[in-house]
């Protein structure tokens, strides 16, 4: 059903007009060579937008936490918004959306990256691991256990990013001492100020020598 929009002068503006306008502007009108009656039908059943949506998307094949997804997405969709808004994987957090806080850190092909600055379409066939992919049911990853034990968080919002970063920090070989960990964890802001305990947690995992 079309939503009626009313402006100050109480002119009623029907949504279907805007869709028709959109379809004209988008060039689909000529491209699809629709006869006027079918256009009206298309408009009423919102086919125009559906066709437009289809043409504006690109296929994406991506593996997330071991599960293969075949999707159609808009090129402008970031990996972060794909995870959070389309796949309901909300463990990866949006803190700034501009690569300035690290809350959206995920692993792509084994390396930590910022999902907010990554266009999902550019991760064709990539293997993505998010915080949801670390634990197996109730069995936690050693870094998750260490964060709980060392109280490496308070509000918990930067935590998924810190944990993904912490694991990578060890794998990269940048966890040899507290100072090095501090430097290589500085791309993950924690406004609650749990830095001391985050370093403790990473040191503990590193020294524990468990496979991560």
């Amino acid at each position: 059903m079309a939503v009626k929009k009313t402006n100050k002068n109480n002119e009623v503006h029907d949504d279907s007009n805007s869709r028709r306008d959109f379809i004209k502007k988008s060039g689909l009108f000529t491209a699809l060579a629709l006869a006027p009656p079918s256009l009206v039908m298309a408009s009423e059943s919102k086919w125009d937008e559906k066709i437009a949506s289809y043409l504006e998307t690109v296929p994406l094949s991506i593996e997330i936490n071991g599960t293969k997804h075949n999707l159609n997405i808009e090129p402008r969709t970031t990996l972060l918004d794909l995870l959070r808004e389309q796949l309901q994987l909300t463990g990866t957090k949006k803190g700034c959306d501009h690569g300035q806080c690290g809350a959206c850190t995920v692993h792509v092909n084994g390396e930590r990256i910022l999902s907010c600055l990554s266009l999902a379409t550019m991760q064709q066939n990539a293997q993505v691991v998010t915080i949801e992919g670390l634990s197996k049911g109730k069995k936690l990853h050693p870094m998750q256990e260490a964060f709980i034990k060392n109280d490496g968080f308070q509000c918990g919002y930067c935590t998924p990013g810190q944990i993904m970063s912490g694991i990578a920090c060890i794998k990269e070989g940048h966890a040899n001492n507290r100072d090095e960990i501090k430097e290589y964890m500085s791309g993950n802001i924690c406004r609650c100020g749990a830095y001391h305990n985050i370093v403790d947690a990473i040191m503990e995992v590193k020294e524990g020598g468990k496979l991560i």
Partner: protein
């Protein structure tokens, strides 16, 4: 963000061809700067040409030089064993920039092309000649703590934000590019430009040209080099001032020297006069002080950034001191 088309380039030639057909198309590699600028509506291309499929990721050690592919990631270069051994200055500068996550994404070519962090450039409500030519410069007479003290103009006092580029400027690098008219090379110090009356142009790259690699000649600076970055917090912040130093020392004698600064100009700022002065001199505090004063002689502040003149002088001395005592 406006929706756009995205295509994958299979060869550098096809990438260039693809781009040249479009009025408003851009290459995308790591995307760490471009995606941000698109989110902020600072730029809104109709089409992106994804160049990540191109074979431009290699770091090759050739006789008397190293060639770094434009798509090599910042981390890959910073942590390359031979780069660390032979060109530690580059490695240090790269590691001082951004965060590990961003360095894992960002390419060498993209790092060179990153745009200024001037807040007036980023905020589309503000005047900025770089973003909208002839709209005015907000930073002059405004908030300019981060801004240039060298080579600025009445239309722009923005600085280039890269750390890597400061090292490349110091190390006499050469940029290789490919465009519709063919291939060419550009001296690194000529690659970025001063704002003049056309601050919208950051560099001398033609609109459709693609950076393919950077070459650095071998040098004798490996032992005594240093990258000093001064910023408002200990990590993950852009430079207020940075200094790249490479010294070729024989005992205490300065055989040769390279000096460049970041955070002070629209381009990485090579300190050629100070280099000339230092060459043949003996390492001493006085010599370093004289070199620093010489380097900062032409510096001009714009109010909030006046401190950069003292800071720059002190940073040059400090960087030279650290490099010479390694």
């Amino acid at each position: 963000m406006k929706n756009f088309q995205i295509i994958k380039a299979l060869t550098s030639a096809s990438a260039v061809t693809n781009l040249s057909k479009e009025t408003d198309a851009k290459f995308i590699a790591g995307g760490t700067n471009l995606v941000d600028l698109m989110k902020k509506n600072v730029t809104a291309p109709d089409k992106l040409v994804d160049i990540n499929t191109l074979d431009l990721k290699k770091i090759e050690f050739l006789s008397k030089k190293v060639s770094i592919g434009a798509l090599a990631k910042n981390t890959q270069v910073a942590e390359d064993k031979v780069i660390k051994e032979k060109f530690p200055l580059l490695s240090l500068a790269l590691a001082a920039g951004a965060s590990q996550q961003i360095r894992n994404m960002a390419s060498v070519g993209g790092n060179m092309l990153q745009r200024t962090r001037c807040p007036y450039f980023y905020n589309t409500d503000m005047p900025c000649n770089k973003r909208v030519p002839k709209s005015g410069c907000g930073a002059i007479g405004g908030s300019n703590r981060m801004h240039a003290v060298f080579g600025a103009s009445e239309s722009c006092i923005a600085v280039h934000p890269s750390d890597m580029c400061v090292a490349l400027a110091a190390l006499d690098a050469t940029v290789f590019v490919e465009g519709p008219k063919g291939k060419r090379k550009i001296e690194f110090t000529d690659f970025h430009r001063l704002p003049g009356n056309t601050p919208e142009k950051d560099n001398v790259l033609d609109a459709k040209e693609l950076i393919t690699s950077v070459e650095i000649p071998e040098n004798n600076f490996a032992k005594n080099s240093h990258y000093l970055k001064i910023r408002d917090r200990s990590s993950y912040a852009f430079a207020l001032v940075s200094v790249a130093v490479g010294l070729d020392l024989k005992n205490n004698l300065i055989n040769d020297v390279r000096l460049a600064m970041g955070g002070v100009a629209h381009k990485p700022w090579r300190l050629t006069e100070a280099e000339k002065f230092l060459k043949g001199k003996t390492v001493s505090e006085t010599t370093f002080k004289q070199a620093a004063d010489l380097a900062m002689k032409e510096a001009k502040g714009y109010g909030e950034n006046n401190f950069k003149i003292t800071l720059g002088t002190n940073a040059i001395i400090e960087a030279l001191t650290i490099a010479s005592s390694k």
